[in-house]
Symmetry: C3
């Protein structure tokens, strides 16, 4: 199924820690276009914290279901480039993922019921650089997949791959109350704090009161949107990817509330 979608869409999404103040990303794109002129290339972001595989993995896991099926996610956050780590293609029902085998797809493995991992045939990529596999291995693989080369000819199916422990929130059920302890996983440009607590974690019956605490701030309900509170006030809401977020209406929660990536977020629901 993914193959037909791919053939029709020919779209690749890029996520790296390369930044945009240099030329690395453009070299990857030039390779992709040279292999598939009809490619659509969309930058997700190139501002992943350098070498932060865990950050990239969480963000990818949060957002990928919101992209239409039939695309390739090319993820290059690769502190181990040139070392022992392998290179893989992950196939799910509707998508392909290409990148280093360093755990960056761990949240994808969690979310998908069925997926296959293919180790890229290194022998197809002789004489490549030791420091820029984004250009020399991953982009060529993505370009060939877009151009119609079969997955099997590019990789060997494998049961061995790196999968790290993902950060689920801790849930403590008490009599008449539930305590959920998560953390801030990402802060966006507006200063909104995106946590790892999901909509489903919060879906309980018979909840009478809800308290959300981050740092010294306590918020007493989950709102629908920023504008449900006055300007300058903190607001908890389910963000557009289904995760609990803390913002400040027309303000910046990170700077106002003194919280940031890694901060603990607690939700108490009283039944």
């Amino acid at each position: 199924m993914v193959r037909n979608l791919l053939k029709k869409n020919k779209i690749v999404y890029l996520m790296t820690d390369f930044g945009v103040d240099n030329f690395y990303v453009s070299e990857m794109k030039s390779v992709i276009y040279s292999l598939c002129r009809e490619a659509r290339i969309v930058d997700i972001t190139h501002s992943i914290t350098p070498f932060d595989v865990h950050e990239a993995a969480f963000l990818l896991g949060m957002i990928y279901p919101f992209y239409p099926g039939g695309g390739i996610f090319l993820v290059v956050v690769d502190p181990g480039v040139g070392g022992e780590r392998g290179e893989i293609i992950v196939r799910t029902q509707e998508r392909l993922f290409v990148g280093p085998d360093n755990g960056v797809f761990s949240y994808v493995y969690e979310k998908e019921k069925k997926f296959s991992v293919y180790r890229i045939r290194r022998e197809l990529f002789e004489g490549v650089s030791s420091t820029f596999h984004g250009r020399d291995i991953f982009a060529p693989v993505a370009g060939r997949l877009l151009a119609g080369t079969s997955l099997r000819s590019l990789g060997r199916k494998s049961d061995e791959f790196v999968r790290f422990q993902v950060h689920y929130p801790e849930v403590e059920e008490q009599e008449g109350a539930v305590l959920i302890r998560g953390r801030v996983m990402f802060v966006d440009k507006f200063g909104n704090l995106i946590s790892n607590i999901t909509f489903s974690d919060l879906k309980r019956e018979g909840v009478k009161e809800t308290y959300i605490r981050v740092g010294r701030t306590v918020i007493r309900e989950i709102s629908r949107s920023f504008s449900d509170v006055p300007a300058g006030k903190p607001v908890a809401y389910i963000g557009s990817h289904g995760y609990l977020e803390i913002g400040v209406n027309k303000g910046n929660a990170q700077s106002s509330l003194g919280a940031g990536k890694g901060s603990i977020l607690e939700v108490v629901m009283v039944m």
Copy 2:
């Protein structure tokens, strides 16, 4: 007329305050491509000051006439997302504009003799998020328009829309002199100060001397380009969009002259 141009060009220009260090823009693009594979998507900028509808409105008004006709401007600077503000499509003779009805198109209304405003039919977008209408309403509307869906099926023509007072410079005519008082509306990466005083404001007959003042700096003529003054010296010139700008040749006017966004700019023309 706009419809035929659109059909031929299939181009959309994006302006947001989302930044590029996250994934919001890419989600909008993925939606557009899924609705119209042949789309051309051009980023104007994603660095509008967060929530600054006035900044976005001015910049859009300044630059849009310089883009070839037949495109869609998708503008998402949307502090009121999820609240009461509406969503609109603006049609001018050669262009479409899609975004929140918060005044962000006010300068377009000023510049166009004829335009129509359509309120987007919200019933077409059930179950959308409350915080990311860029992905859930505006991008789908742009994508459908590119794909050929008629404006009328997406929106209802309306005479009610938000239009704020635009910032025109003040002009004081005196005997033998004209005083124009404008302000710096935007500072570009080079530190050039872009004002709201236009070429037409300055076009007067019989002008013998011109003085331009910003902060403590007085410039005694309007030059053609940076290189008309020595390196390091301030220069006033008509920028590439027809507005009076202050720069420093091979330098940075913002830091050298101690002026910035909001600073007053005065022009005295002596007849």
Copy 3:
């Protein structure tokens, strides 16, 4: 040959000092698409240090051979815009380069055995702005070239063009040793120091020991990749463009080693 490649690929690579927090680049793209709807446009970077023609020239020279043949490099780092400097198209066997005649293609001239320079016919671009030739001259030239307009109709072949002295490393041959003194030309987002010493400079027979010095740091060998040294340790390696680079495994060489753009890099090879 370049013409056929161009016709097939229709790809243009952009390098400017415009930044991405404004609208200049998008205006150039809108012009290119309006002249050639099928264009592929790839941003190399827009973060060249403002007005730094030497930086842009070095980077372009380092990277352009790694892009597939048959593209146009559109380079706008143009402190002399509106002044006396000319506008040129450079043709090499497989590529075209479009930009101001200010030396920004000097490294291309060094690397290519055969190339031709065409002065753009200014009479084709009447009434253009004096400050934004990127939009008003260079993008239209690139767009027309992509659309199939002949080079000759856009420019006149010329033997006069600006070419500045490129920065080669100094090589001192001594008995039993070679000393190479280069400098750091660019620092990427990871803090890797990219020098102007190439793989060929270092290729000597009978080398027993190699020392690389930058600031107070001495590195005793050239490694294959970051992961050849422990995390946090400095590493010298041949980067993915064939130049000697200094990095820190999973760290930042610029901040750890107190070196940056312009720093001296010395290599001693003992035979």
